[in-house]
Amino acid sequence: MIGDYPRLGQASADGATKSIVLNMGPQHPSMHGVLHLMVELSGETVLACRPVIGYLHRGIEKLFENRTYNQCIVLCDRLDYISQYSNEWAFCRAVEKLADIEVAKRAEWLRTMYAELVRITSHLLWWSSVGLDMGAWTPLIYAMVPREHLFDFYEATTGSRLMPNYLRFGGVKEDVDPAALEELHDWLGTEFFAHLDEFDGLLSGNEIFLSRQRGLAHMTTDQAVAWGVTGPMLRATGCDRDLRKDTPYGVYDRLEWQTMTDARGDALARYTVRMREMRESANMAMQCIERMPAGEVRTRLPKVLRPPAGEVYVRTESTRGELGIYLVSDGSVKPYRLRVHSPAFMNISSLPRLVPGAHINDFFAIFGGVDNVMAEIDR
């Protein structure tokens, strides 16, 4: 696939018109994180784009090798800091599979609930920036209102807004106050849906927004699969692939929900899928609260965990797609090797193939639909 990767400086060989290369980022007002994009322009048409990544590389995978398993959970929050619980869950599942640990019943429901809540908060941030990328300021602030409410819930129940360090092997850190759960259930069922209706009224039905998103950066399922795209971007091509459905984990097989797809494959489809996912995630979180059994939230484990030697690969459906954790243990207290298969990294590799031919106006509209998080790409 590297062969058809657009090369900078080649596309303008014809005629006397010179193309210019713009370096967008890492310092640019609408760059999501510290990404550097080299964009070749002919007039205002994008000829080629090359993402330059690595500005946020912290060597997280190496750091895993230098900490005991319990100490590693905190590193997962730093991967994709917008969907923290998903990362923690992926790592915990890998360790639990390797060491054959049974997870407490109630903890499975709590984990599922938090994973869906974090999908909402992550999509809310995406929604705010999708407006901002197209020049609408108001969505940025509007999306923060429900996001703040959920962050207050995170803080009240797990002790932290952004870096919760909440999941443990075989369960979660501590049980959640039933009153807080009830309050959250009420809020999700009423106010949160009212917020989403308001968002639809503000942006989803806007004629300028629709005309700019419709038919933009079209992608077929075959292309998406070939480029390794997963998550909402893949489902926006009509492909019904969701690991929560296909290889259920947690309590996803016990909830009533649907995979959200949209067959159009353009930027508007990516927008619609994420908007629908927010509603569905709220429904799933509400079901979790309703059906959650009482009981222990942690399995008793030795203080120092020594999983048997071996290797394991676990996939989960994080907010951005398939988050894979490949874990090798040599039987010691620390992981021998850990490798993260990042959905954001796979998704952003589709950007150079989506943007050629687009207007520079639309460049950021396409880029916003990719919904990348540099912390997970650079690790």
Partner: protein, 322 residues
């Protein structure tokens, strides 16, 4: 020119400078407050009562900044660029009346003078973008040139309908024809076209492409800092003032507010209502795409403007009192 006339003109010029400065100071605060409340936040609150001193803090900050001229910049044009934007807009203010005949120069061709002055602005913006020697500002300024030239044509056509009905290009005469029925009510199509094109002329959302901060960093004035950046910002507010004032005079009855007696107060009130509406649009709409915007002007606004002109001609001939 006698000494007396010269003195009167001097007082007018000084008064207009004060009006311009007051408008910038007020709008700087007012736009932030209004957009803040649209965003569910209070806006500036800490500098003075409800942030009233914020414009002065901004001004002090801009005066204190280093005045950077980039190495590759065309120094001459870098200097005169902001002037070419600010001066014509100030000159346009000199013919805009607040009461019958109450302008520095209530000339016969006041309307065309305003348009002529507005036409110079794209030159200044292009100069600014070119002189900065920056790719962002180059793209922004070329966008500005294309956009402003494209939108001047339907704007003129829409204003021509008013001129045909009023039979004059003198702004006082045009307003005097709207004692009861404003031209916005008589010529709704022309009013709509004039308002939309006015937004484009002012570089306001959804036509703020020349300075699209999410794409072009700061657009045509990316390389400007300190007070020269201040000039660019001042010209934005000036352009908004001139545009809304002209809109009020042409379509919203100027100093007439039937059945109340005519008063300059109504002009001020209407001008700021129009500006509030423009800020409201900024708080609601995303930005248009450049090619969509061009298409809108050439394919829809210009034909609609010509149809409007035809309609005015027919109506004016059939009903001479229309």
């Amino acid at each position: 020119m006698s000494g007396h006339q010269f003195l009167v003109a001097l007082v007018w010029v000084l008064a207009l400078l004060v009006v311009m400065a007051l408008n910038i100071i007020f709008m700087d605060w007012y736009e932030r407050k209004l957009i803040g409340h649209i965003h569910l936040r209070p806006g500036p609150m800490h500098t003075g009562w409800h942030g009233l001193l914020q414009p002065f803090a901004d001004m002090l900050k801009m005066l204190g900044k280093e005045d950077i001229v980039p190495t590759g910049a065309d120094k001459l044009f870098f200097w005169i660029g902001p002037m070419v934007v600010v001066v014509p807009l100030f000159l346009a203010l000199t013919v805009l009346p607040v009461a019958p005949g109450a302008a520095l120069a209530d000339i016969n061709h006041g309307l065309f003078f305003v348009f002529a002055m507005q036409t110079i602005v794209p030159f200044g913006i292009t100069l600014i973008g070119w002189a900065g020697h920056n790719k962002w500002s180059l793209v922004g300024s070329l966008r500005a040139a294309a956009q402003l030239i494209t939108y001047e044509i339907p704007m003129l056509i829409a204003a021509l309908g008013v001129v045909m009905l009023a039979g004059s290009t003198r702004l006082t005469d045009i307003v005097q024809h709207q004692t009861v029925w404003w031209y916005a009510l008589k010529l709704p199509i022309g009013f709509a076209i004039f308002f939309v094109t006015g937004l484009a002329e002012m570089n306001r959302t959804p036509f703020d492409l020349p300075e699209a901060e999410s794409e072009l960093v700061a657009g045509y004035h990316t390389e400007y800092s300190g007070m020269k950046f201040g000039f660019a910002m001042m010209s934005e507010y000036n352009s908004m003032l001139v545009g809304s004032w002209l809109l009020v005079l042409l379509f919203l009855g100027g100093w007439n507010l039937w059945p109340l007696p005519p008063s300059p107060l109504w002009v001020v009130l209407k001008v700021y209502l129009v500006q509030s509406f423009i800020v409201w649009i900024r708080g609601t709409y995303p930005r248009m795409r450049l090619d969509d915007m061009m298409e809108m002007s050439w394919k829809y606004l210009i034909p609609a403007g010509l149809a409007n002109l035809l309609l005015v001609g027919v109506l004016g001939t059939v009903f001479p009192k229309f």
